[in-house]
């Protein structure tokens, strides 16, 4: 009598555990035959992958099953690294640009893709975000880039009789007009999440000042410093934005910014092109877009056309052959066409000529022909040390816009941090 109660409980627990383990092993074995799993941080795209992209691929390759398994963006890097360390990561891995993926390749998590037929469809610039420093091995297939600019509410501009500004001076005149009118918040940018200040602020208008790739490569070579005039000038402009942002913008988060604009309460939105699809589905007004205006008197213009997403092959994948078939398909114009039109604002990096149907997205894309493209200058090589340049950039950009730090101090802090560990800048 004494031992029976707890004995049965322990026994049943043991059997349950054994059963569970067996079932798990069985399903694991079944699951692996011809199934590809894609790791991604793009929760937003799940619907599109399941309803458009995967079915299109399966028309030509019905025997390869694909599962798009995104992780919430905040946790993606941490969770992916943990899964790779534990051997449970998917076959295809969506690649962050530059060092995050380079590190995965160096650790042997990503396979080299030089031999992929489709790789020939991409330019060197497109591949630069996913190629080793010596330029010899590419380890992710470029997928899409995002372009920066300003999206505006056409009704708002009509109300104040404004037009798209062609210079920075015209930009401020327009903002003043909107502010005087009082109906709309002139410019939408919040500093609470910090990244917008760097990405839609500094990296948006900056290329016009540091002349795009010229400046970026000069920083890498060490022939320019972050305390040089172009960078101080960029921060000086950002420091002027405060009065035109919504009240309490210091506590305005990214979702707040999106809601503020899509609810029609604001005129101009400092944008990354990805937001086009957000506003299409949520807004109810006509939108236009203009590129970051250069300072008056400057004839050439530069846009931030940033290589943002790639896709790579897990070196430990058991379905590498099938995965390569899929990667090849992703380099075709068929994929580019579907992707560009399902996600207006993400621009495929392949050389394929495609038509983007969304007019605002088409506007963004047209800037490639008018201006010179560049990628964000903190992403290649320069964010490898401690202090981390990108984190620092977020921090000081937010402080400059908040009025808590002068442009000079901002650039001094950035340069000091970079020079501490980066030899060419010492």
């Amino acid at each position: 009598m004494a031992g029976t109660w707890e004995n049965t409980k322990m026994k049943s627990m043991f059997y349950k555990a054994a059963l569970a383990a067996t079932a798990l092993v069985a399903t694991a074995v079944i699951a692996q035959a011809g199934n590809l799993k894609i790791e991604s941080w793009r929760n937003d795209d799940a619907d599109i992958w399941n309803s458009k992209i995967i079915p299109a691929f399966n028309k030509a390759h019905p025997d390869i099953k694909i599962e798009f398994a995104p992780t919430a963006p905040k946790e993606y890097n941490a969770a992916l690294n943990a899964r790779l360390a534990g051997g449970t990561a998917g076959d295809l891995i969506t690649c962050r640009p530059f060092d995050a993926s380079l590190e995965l390749f160096n650790k042997g998590n990503l396979a080299g893709l030089n031999d992929l037929k489709g790789m020939a469809n991409f330019s060197d610039v497109a591949k630069s975000a996913w190629t080793t420093d010596d330029g010899k091995t590419t380890f992710c297939l470029p997928m899409a880039s995002v372009i920066h600019g300003f999206i505006y509410n056409k009704d708002a501009l009509k109300k104040v009789g404004g037009t798209e500004p062609k210079t920075m001076e015209e930009f401020y005149t327009l903002l003043e007009k909107i502010k005087k009118d009082g109906t709309y918040v002139p410019l939408v940018l919040g500093t609470a999440d910090q990244w917008e200040s760097a990405t839609m602020g500094f990296q948006n208008i900056g290329p016009n000042y540091w002349k795009g790739e010229e400046g970026r490569n000069a920083l890498i070579k060490g022939t320019q410093k972050l305390t040089d005039a172009p960078y101080v000038a960029t921060f000086k402009e950002l420091a002027k934005w405060g009065p035109y942002l919504g009240t309490g913008y210091q506590a305005q988060t990214y979702p707040d910014s999106q809601n503020l604009f899509s609810l029609g309460k604001a005129a101009i939105y400092a944008a990354g092109s990805w937001d086009i699809s957000t506003f299409r589905s949520q807004g109810s007004f006509e939108m236009g877009a203009f590129k970051a205006p250069p300072p008056a008197g400057q004839s050439d213009c530069y846009i931030s056309d940033h290589t943002d997403i790639g896709i790579g092959l897990n070196a430990a994948s058991k379905n590498a052959a099938d995965a390569r078939v899929f990667l090849d398909w992703m380099s075709t114009s068929e994929f580019a066409e579907i992707f560009a039109n399902s996600l207006p604002g993400f621009f495929p990096l392949s050389n394929a000529k495609i038509t983007v149907k969304d007019d605002v997205a088409a506007t963004f894309l047209s800037w490639r022909g008018q201006c010179k493209s560049t990628i964000r200058n903190s992403y290649q090589i320069l964010s490898r040390g401690t202090p981390n340049l990108e984190n620092e950039l977020w921090n000081v950009s937010a402080q400059v816009i908040n009025g808590k730090m002068s442009p000079d101090d901002a650039t001094k802090q950035l340069q000091a941090g970079l020079a501490k560990w980066y030899a060419p800048q010492k």
Binding site: E103, A192, Q250, S383, N391, Q399
Partner: protein
């Protein structure tokens, strides 16, 4: 141990005794050791290694700790986070625990109607996930949607409104108060129970002597529940110095504005797992984790040896 217990144990053979102990302690110790202690030790052991480009580990002794404490770019964030944790802890000790004690005192008043309802409502925030808490308070405090600003205007205090979560001077305090809102239920619950344990006779005797409820609380009840208050304090300390979820949910891993909300927990997360372009460093992350553990251990020891001894335990 009573004589009978001693007898019960000693009457068994050595093996029988061992079997008994293994039976009772076995499952707990095995699961705990395998899935809690061993991983912790394995992780903290990383603190004495460094990695190279290809990911191989090299033994480095206490180099990482020296780096953490002396290098400008490591010690700055470390001491900043530690200072923020201390402030976070002080806010909880000054706001959360007194409120918990006060409300527990009110709830323990005799013949109080709706006691259970109040208890349930005030305890609810403790059960929520940080996603809800983050969303709700972001919405309430946001300068864009007018909730708290409208409320202050209603009270005629509209000019006091500021975007508190976005300003360096107030962000940490604001998050601290949100955390107080979330967790006040725990000290409330523990102290309420301790108050209920006080025998009726003591309270009645004091009433007969003519003391008001107020004075009874301060002069009779409070001294008797000191051990519980001590327990609550140490739990608050451990909880605060391990805090991470709320700041992460509201401010992200970079804990702005300008690291004013950075706690040791977020500093650890950034260091270990990386953030945006910053790559994770398991070795430095383990160093931070070990430092955190030592800090908490120190605090607990100080409490145990200096304070716990002086608290009298009253048994009834």
């Amino acid at each position: 141990m009573t004589e009978l217990t001693q007898y019960a144990l000693s009457s068994k053979s050595g093996f029988g005794r061992l079997a008994l102990l293994v039976f009772f302690l076995g499952p707990a110790v095995v699961i705990y050791a395998a899935f809690s202690v061993y991983p912790l030790i394995a992780t903290m052991a990383l603190a004495s290694f460094t990695t190279d480009q290809a990911g191989a580990y090299h033994f480095a002794g206490i180099d990482n700790f020296i780096l953490l404490l002396t290098d400008k770019d490591w010690r700055g964030p470390f001491w900043n986070a530690l200072g923020n944790n201390a402030l976070f802890f002080i806010i909880h000790m000054l706001v959360q625990n007194p409120i918990g004690i006060a409300i527990a005192g009110l709830l323990s008043l005799p013949a109080l109607k709706f006691r259970a309802t109040y208890r349930t409502l005030i305890f609810m925030p403790t059960m929520l996930s940080v996603v809800i808490i983050g969303f709700a308070w972001n919405l309430i405090l946001s300068p864009l949607w007018g909730v708290s600003e409208g409320f202050l205007k209603f009270l005629g205090l509209g000019s006091l409104f500021k975007p508190w979560l976005g300003l360096e001077g107030s962000a940490l305090i604001t998050i601290g108060l949100i955390s107080v809102w979330q967790f006040v239920g725990i000290p409330l619950m523990l102290i309420y129970a301790a108050l209920l344990n006080i025998p009726e006779e003591l309270v009645d005797a004091a009433r007969i002597d003519g003391l008001s409820h107020f004075r009874i609380f301060f002069h009779v009840k409070l001294p008797l529940i000191m051990p519980t208050i001590g327990l609550v304090s140490i739990l608050t300390f451990v909880g605060n110095f391990n805090a991470f979820d709320l700041v992460y949910a509201i401010k992200g891993a970079l804990a702005g504005p300008n690291f004013s909300t950075d706690l040791l927990g977020t500093f650890f997360y950034r260091t270990f797992f990386g953030n945006q372009l910053q790559l994770g460093s398991p070795t430095m992350g383990a160093t931070v984790a070990t430092a955190m553990f030592l800090i908490i251990l120190m605090g607990v020891c100080i409490y145990l040896f200096l304070i716990q001894r002086r608290l009298e335990r009253h048994s009834f």
